[in-house]
């Protein structure tokens, strides 16, 4: 019974945190643009509005893909430790998280493909290429972590960090931490790697044909995506927090770092993004992996 409560608590809180962070990001961007910006509760208002509209659907896969992608995000959230709680820590660990993280983009790709709109297909192909770009370094970083802590499960990594201090400051892991910082905007899909939903170029990419309810689901998926990216970083590199309060503060801290970058940076083209991702972060991650491999063999 406690497990069910934990699951409900973590998933609802993750959703609220994600939406709050989107509202905060619009507010911070506005403030940086020297204007007032929407209230912090604007994403909640948008979702209420979207649910009061009659959306247009292009077929069963169009709906099913959307639900499949949001389910993937929700389930990933259950595997990530939230402060002290990790509802489904029993099974798998980082490898399972990695594989569950690919359900969300796959779901959106399928439903966007079904909308028979080339803008959506271009957006999805950009999403796949960008994912392939940052996965190269993300995999090396996670492998260096797993070999350094000699475990696959993320809960153990958090525990060892609580005693031994943040892994960002452990000597062999600093390089990997730096590489992770460089690819973080790409994982969360925020500027300078926002070319997937570029409203000006490909009329918001996969979301070109999304109407009322689908936009609500897409925003929720984006919220979960931001939460997952941040909580993975906080859990793996910033010690994860012994209780929920610490965890949320660290989350906010990490979020502000990337939010400021998001507010002022222009948008990369997809070749520039992949070339960049395969050059500097990949180099750092590779060096990090070698260091860890040598020191702990």
């Amino acid at each position: 019974m406690v497990l069910v409560l934990q699951i409900l608590f973590v998933s609802i809180l993750a959703c609220l945190v994600g939406l709050f962070l989107i509202g905060l990001s619009r507010k911070v961007t506005a403030r940086i643009h020297w204007r007032y910006g929407p209230p912090l509760s604007q994403p909640f208002i948008d979702i209420v509005k979207w649910f009061s509209q009659t959306a247009v659907s292009h077929g069963k896969l169009f709906d099913a893909g959307m639900i499949f992608s949001l389910t993937g995000s929700v389930v990933v959230v259950l595997f990530l430790p939230f402060g002290g709680i990790c509802p489904l820590s029993g099974s798998g660990g980082l490898l399972v998280i990695l594989y569950l993280m690919l359900i969300a983009p796959l779901g959106i790709a399928l439903s966007a493909g079904e909308s028979a709109n080339p803008h959506a297909s271009i957006g999805v192909s950009r999403k796949m290429q960008l994912a392939f770009g940052y996965e190269l370094s993300l995999l090396m970083i996670l492998l260096s972590l797993m070999t350094y802590y000699r475990t696959v499960s993320i809960v153990d990594i958090v525990e060892t960090q609580i005693q031994a201090g943040w892994s960002l400051v452990q000597l062999p892991l600093v390089v990997s931490g730096l590489a992770y910082l460089l690819i973080m905007p790409a994982i969360m899909g925020i500027r300078p790697f926002e070319m997937i939903q570029a409203p000006q170029e490909i009329s918001s990419g996969p979301m070109a044909e999304y109407g009322g309810k689908f936009l609500a689901f897409a925003t929720l998926q984006h919220a979960f995506n931001i939460y997952i990216g941040l909580s993975l970083f906080v859990n793996l590199f910033m010690g994860g927090g012994s209780n929920a309060g610490y965890f949320l503060i660290k989350l906010l801290l990490a979020f502000m770092v990337f939010q400021v970058v998001h507010a002022v940076w222009p948008r990369f083209r997809i070749e520039q993004a992949v070339r960049y991702l395969w050059r500097w972060p990949a180099l750092l991650a590779f060096i990090g992996l070698i260091i860890v491999w040598v020191t702990t063999s």
């Binding site: 204007r35 209230p39 009061s52 509209q53 070109a208």
Partner: protein, 201 residues
């Protein structure tokens, strides 16, 4: 916010629970970024730093599917009318249109031109008008607040009127544009059944 044009009741939680649909529509008007005519030059200053429209929840969006506010900015030429009708029909309901500037109202300074549409109201339903030959961003905000009061009173029902009298609208459109490339949005029987249920409901 001037008293006359309706107060901003976004933080009034009671109203959120009483009619979430209306409140949601009011405080998250996503405008379709479609430059129909000369008026579009007024939209960028409206949404950027000096007259920030985002504080009212109004942001430009790329495709009609994501929009619920259609701002017809400036004069409407016969050629652009075809694209306006297509975009309007692709927007999900409830949707609101606002005629921006004097040209959509009655032709404005092009009142006697052979190539512009005089009364936009004959082809698509329009919920609100902003007078002025390229009205200023403050006028856009007045229009938005007026739209709020219309939505509150339930009078911003252009989309229902379009659904009810679709045959008339379609005939007017075909009279001006000749044969249209897309099938009628609401087929005959579906439309009657919907309007009957609307009246009954």
């Amino acid at each position: 916010m001037t008293k006359k044009s309706g107060k901003m009741d976004r933080n009034n939680i009671g109203k959120w629970f009483k009619s979430p649909g209306n409140m949601g529509q009011k405080y998250s008007l996503h405008a379709l970024y479609f430059c129909t005519g000369c008026g579009i030059i007024e939209i960028p200053p409206t949404i950027t730093t000096r007259w920030d429209a985002e504080r009212f929840g109004v942001i430009p969006v790329a495709t009609p599917r994501q929009a619920n506010l259609f701002l017809i900015t400036g004069y409407v030429s016969v050629k652009t009318l075809r694209y306006i009708i297509r975009s309007y029909e692709q927007m999900p309901e409830p949707k609101y249109t606002v005629g921006f500037g004097s040209c959509p109202i009655n032709g404005g300074m092009y009142w006697d031109s052979y190539n512009t549409i005089k009364h936009l109201d004959k082809y698509i339903p329009v919920d609100g008008w902003i007078a002025g030959c390229m009205p200023r961003p403050e006028a856009v905000f007045v229009a938005v607040t007026h739209l709020w009061t219309l939505i509150d009173k339930g009078m911003a029902t252009g989309y229902l009127k379009y659904r009810e009298h679709y045959a008339k609208y379609r005939r007017n459109q075909e009279k001006i544009l000749g044969e249209l490339e897309w099938p009628p949005l609401f087929s005959k029987e579906e439309e009657n059944e919907k309007s009957r249920e609307k009246v009954a409901g």
